[in-house]
């Protein structure tokens, strides 16, 4: 009976994971065949947008219109739901640019007739997902904290024990070794970064609302995360850290006429957070692109006939399930690597002066 239960649970997990792809394959009649532009479809899912498009049943779109909050230099504040752009292409002098530099974003025409961007703080899909995931994270972490405050020395079970595994793993194996003795000062920031990146990566993999927004695959978000690490590393860096950048312990000819080593060290101060930004952004974006591409495989082969389409659907389902599992691993690994490298940079910046031993004659 034990092996039967295992087999049944494996089948249930497989069906759940493949549900996303199988639901995509509706029977297509000859007159509905439209050319699917795979590149446009994928880019549209990866980019930000002013409405949250969920699905299209028959001919009606099911989409959640999100608020548009815009301040224009000429006409002041505009606050409205983006469903206004469904009825007419232009609303109150604002419109969504169809192509060009500001494609997909709200623009208005200034006095000369050029397209210009107003000050845009709309709740777009990524912003809404960011706020939602942050609220979810706060609820989870505050719940865990309250459980510890109530019963500090009791061994935790269930979800709190599960969270304890993650927290202790990051605290003991990453933060403590990398930073050293004053790790408790930086542990809040590093743990927050880990759980923020982890929960946003995971929610990006869930295909249905409220998950499925490409948050950590957006370079603005990873830029801000890397900027936070950069600020913390350089504000809490000791004097020895800055001395080692601008006057390192190297032979004089590398420093004096042309400051070669100081220039290299200064570039290093900027490239390390830059690499953090690009690494997280590219990994998550590539993962989402692969999943979307494999799902589009089903639609692209529709025109090749029923048999080809069915076999390609089976292949697509298997590959998509596999890639989704890989993306779960990547979600954890990228959060772990971001946190570990931030901890390493902070630890390197908190360096104490080395005392060279004097050789006594």
């Amino acid at each position: 009976m034990n092996s039967l239960r295992k087999i049944l649970s494996l089948i249930a997990i497989f069906v759940f994971l493949s549900g996303t792809v199988v639901l995509a394959n509706e029977p297509v009649s000859a007159e509905k065949s439209k050319e699917i532009n795979v590149k446009e479809l994928i880019l549209e899912h990866l980019a930000d947008s002013y409405t949250w498009h969920i699905t299209k049943i028959g001919e009606t779109d099911i989409a959640i219109p999100l608020p548009v909050i815009v301040y224009s230099q000429t006409s002041g504040w505009h606050v409205f739901l983006s469903s206004a752009f469904h009825e007419s292409a232009e609303y109150d002098g604002l419109s969504i640019a169809a192509e060009g530099k500001y494609k997909g974003k709200i623009v208005e025409k200034d006095a000369q007739g050029n397209e210009v961007r107003p000050f845009d703080i709309s709740i777009t899909k990524v912003v809404f997902s960011l706020l939602f995931n942050s609220l979810l994270l706060i609820i989870i972490i505050m719940g865990v904290a309250r459980s510890y405050k109530k019963d500090t020395f009791e061994s935790k079970k269930g979800f709190v024990g599960f969270m304890e595994m993650f927290i202790m793993n990051i605290n003991d194996d990453v933060i403590k070794p990398c930073i050293g003795k004053d790790y408790r000062r930086f542990a809040p920031y590093l743990l927050t970064v880990f759980f923020f990146v982890f929960i946003n990566n995971l929610m990006g993999l869930i295909p249905i609302f409220p998950g499925g927004a490409n948050v950590t695959g957006n370079i603005a978000i990873t830029f801000v995360l890397a900027l936070c690490t950069f600020v913390i590393v350089n504000i809490f860096g000791t004097k020895e850290y800055f001395k080692e950048i601008f006057w390192p312990d190297v032979p004089l000819w590398l420093k004096v006429p042309i400051p070669l080593m100081p220039a290299i060290e200064l570039v290093g101060v900027f490239t390390k957070p830059f690499a953090l930004m690009i690494r997280l952004f590219a990994n998550i974006l590539a993962g989402h692109s692969i999943v979307l591409g494999l799902t589009c495989l089903v639609f692209v082969t529709v025109s090749l006939g029923q048999a080809m389409n069915t076999s390609m659907t089976v292949v697509s389902v298997i590959f998509t399930v596999f890639i989704n599992l890989v993306e779960l691993l990547v979600a954890y690994i990228q959060a772990y690597v971001f946190t570990m490298l931030s901890a390493v940079f902070i630890g390197l910046a908190r360096v104490e002066p080395h005392h060279t031993k004097e050789v006594k004659e």
Partner: protein, 83 residues
Amino acid sequence: MLLTILLQAAAGAAGLAKLGAGLGAGLAAIGAGLGIGRIGGSAMDGIARQPEAGSDIRMSMIIAAALVEGAALFAIVVCGFIL
């Protein structure tokens, strides 16, 4: 003769950029595969020599693989911008 070939090549310059971007992305993927393959191989050797250190070696392997993949993804992001 040579001039006509050069003129044709110059006219198709936009296509050349896409060719370069595609080639670059492919080479970056090969680089990532080679690098991570070597890391995995060394990790296997280490675990075979000392199975007790298995979990330490596994964690180090994953971290090193993530860093190498970061370098390869730099190239892929740049090629993506060109395309």
